[in-house]
């Protein structure tokens, strides 16, 4: 039971391992270590607020790229330009809340951001390939 409790405590936390006296960052002098101080900082309101803003902006950036890519792809597949624009824009508005909430509540933020950045980069690259537009 204690082991399961520690595992649950590890999810959504700052990514530390099982809590022990040593990993709490207590130095030989007894002062709180850097790791422990950083973990505390992440939970402050300004840090959370900054993360929220980053999520909102980052999600918008990804959806922007996705929407533009989808419109270009659809028009290249034969759909009329105006139809491609409307369809991909509608999709963008549905995707944005999904992406933002998923990113905000991600178990592993670094992995989630990595996925977002990678996907965005791939789409940008695909759009700038010869004959993409």
């Amino acid at each position: 039971m204690p082991k399961a409790r520690k595992l649950r405590a590890g999810l959504f936390s700052s990514g530390e391992g099982p809590v022990t006296r040593i990993s709490q960052g207590a130095t030989r002098s007894g002062a709180p270590g850097l790791h422990w101080r950083l973990a505390g900082l992440r939970k402050t309101a300004p840090a959370r607020g900054a993360y929220l803003l980053a999520v909102l902006a980052g999600s918008y950036g990804l959806v922007w790229t996705l929407t533009a890519g989808a419109a270009v792809l659809l028009s290249r597949l034969g759909l009329e330009r105006s139809e491609a624009v409307i369809a991909s824009s509608l999709l963008g508005f549905v995707l944005y809340p999904t992406v933002a909430l998923a990113l905000f509540a991600a178990h592993r933020p670094l992995r989630a951001w990595g996925l977002v950045a990678g996907l965005g980069a791939m789409l940008l690259l695909a759009r700038h390939l010869p004959g993409a537009n």
Binding site: F12, S82, V85, I86, S89, L90, G92, L101, A105, N133
Partner: protein, 515 residues
């Protein structure tokens, strides 16, 4: 950062909700009023209280002469006439010259009499306010509304995810516990109108997608963004010839339109390049019998009256028109419009109860967080009490200001903002003066009740149309607004009386119970 995803959603819901509740309250309140913009026009513009025409309006005999008279001596790019409907018993005629300078007039259908320029913005003020916030410079209002709408979507979805026991929470209402009462009211009002709230926020964003998410437009049209609208609407356009020409019978074109639409009625007629050899006529169908904004527009050659083009929307454009139509609610059904209004008010109640719940929860932690509590309580009072108060003050000014006053419409707007500011300052003063940082709710309720009654009485005195007489004369719009004013006064009085009966807990001897 959070110990669980539920905590993350709870934090997100609280922060976004608190941060943008004010903006969203304004949008929802004004949007709910805008559902009855035409009815408010009848109330605020007494000269337009005319009976609905019993026969079809003749475009050739009743509209064309007036349009030519209004546009006399000018080179017009277009003139446009909105035909009467069961909500608008008049013709609305607009002209634009080649420099895009326009003028707008109401015309009495039976006699062709051009009514004097309206000394009030009428219901159009509330309609435009709800998506521009009266901040036109740099489209700031539009951008803020878009931001608030997207945040609102995120907040609602996060709020849904918080409630694992959605149905149990929905059916819970604990009126005996103040804090739980507010939270239950927040949940109840939110869940009651949930499909409406999600749909109205999403459709509001979609309507202005070229502003909020222009990525697809820029990627696909690049430097030709102006062509998107013409292609999406399947519209027709051609330049003027620069040579004089005559206009064929508009009535014949309208009859042809009715035949193509299989019984549909024209809602508007627009003549492009009037007096030119290449003039063409655009006729749009009435949206009263449908949800979509697709007007199945027809384009006729001005000189011959032959059909040039029929706008048939493609699937994505049709979907867009449906979403936009669900938002702007041009349909005729009064019951559905009433449901929209109730759902909009439920949205306002959800936002208000959320703010008040936050205030009550943080009041228990006093003296910690006093500044934040004062700000939120002032914001809540400034919106929940101040916005209705300002609206009523505007209606009172509409009845009090003389017709001959210069810039009368602008003066009404000044009264609106002055009353709103006054209510907010009164709330702030009351909050800071009060021992428990409580807003002067009772006084604001009293002011709302008095203003609503004043507006009702002034309408009766200034126009002779009290509610019963308005009903007898078939002026249902005027009677409806008067009825709403009476209900508002009763509701405000009841709430004020109830607040007086609720005893605030005395924390220390001698402390004031309320501001």
């Amino acid at each position: 950062m959070f110990t669980s995803w539920r905590q993350a959603m709870l934090w997100l819901h609280s922060v976004l909700g608190l941060g943008l509740a004010g903006l969203l309250f304004v949008v929802f309140f004004m949007g709910s009023l805008a559902l009855y913009d035409r009815e408010l026009d009848r109330w605020m513009l007494p000269q337009t209280r005319l009976p609905t025409p019993s026969s079809q309006v003749s475009l050739d005999r009743q509209v064309l002469p007036v349009a030519e008279h209004l546009g006399a001596g000018q080179m017009l790019e277009q003139w446009y006439v909105e035909l009467p409907s069961n909500r608008v018993p008049l013709l609305r005629l607009q002209t634009w010259d080649l420099q895009a300078q326009g003028q707008s007039r109401f015309v009495e259908p039976g006699t062709g009499r051009v009514l004097a320029a309206a000394g009030s913005r009428g219901g159009d003020f509330f309609y435009r306010f709800h998506y521009t916030l009266h901040l036109e410079a740099g489209r700031l209002g539009l951008l803020l509304v878009g931001l608030a709408s997207m945040a609102g979507l995120l907040t609602i979805v996060a709020g849904l995810l918080i409630h694992a026991r959605l149905f149990k929470d929905f059916f819970s209402f604990r009126p005996d516990q103040a804090l739980r009462r507010l939270l239950d009211l927040h949940n109840l009002s939110g869940v009651f109108a949930l499909p409406f709230l999600l749909g109205i926020l999403l459709s509001g964003l979609v309507i202005l997608f070229p502003l909020y998410l222009p990525a697809a437009l820029l990627a696909t049209y690049q430097e030709q963004a102006g062509r998107f609208e013409t292609e999406a609407r399947a519209a027709f356009a051609r330049p003027a010839a620069g040579q004089p020409g005559r206009l064929a019978s508009l009535d014949a074109m309208a009859a042809q339109a009715r035949s193509i639409w299989q019984g549909g009625e024209p809602a508007f007629v627009r003549v492009w390049h009037p007096g030119d050899a290449r003039a063409y006529v655009e006729i749009g169908r009435s949206l009263a019998d449908r949800l979509s904004l697709d007007a199945e527009t027809l384009y006729f050659d001005g000189a011959s009256g032959h059909l040039l083009h029929q706008a048939i929307l493609k699937p994505a454009a049709s979907a867009y028109s449906l979403l936009a139509g669900l938002h702007v609610a041009h349909f005729r059904q009064p019951l559905l419009r009433g449901l929209y209004f109730l759902a909009g008010m439920s949205g306002c109640l959800m936002l208000a109860s959320g703010l008040l719940y936050w205030s009550e929860k943080h009041r228990a932690r006093l003296p910690q967080g006093r500044t934040a509590l004062c700000l939120v309580e002032t914001l809540a009072a400034g919106l929940i009490g101040g916005l209705p108060l300002a609206t009523l003050a505007m209606l009172v000014a509409n009845r009090v200001l003389a017709e001959a006053v210069a810039e009368r419409a602008s003066w009404e707007v000044i009264v609106f903002f002055t009353a709103w500011l006054g209510a907010a300052l009164h709330a702030a003063f009351g909050v800071y003066r009060s021992a428990g940082q409580r807003a002067p709710w009772r006084k604001q309720c009293a002011a709302i009740a008095l203003l609503a009654l004043a507006a009702l009485l002034l309408n009766s005195l200034s126009t002779g149309a009290h509610p019963l007489r308005a009903l007898a004369e078939g002026q249902c719009a005027v009677a409806g607004v008067d009825g709403a004013l009476l209900l508002t006064a009763l509701l405000a009085a009841c709430i004020g009386k109830r607040l007086r009966q609720i005893q605030a807990p005395a924390l220390t001897p001698g402390r004031l119970e309320d501001a």
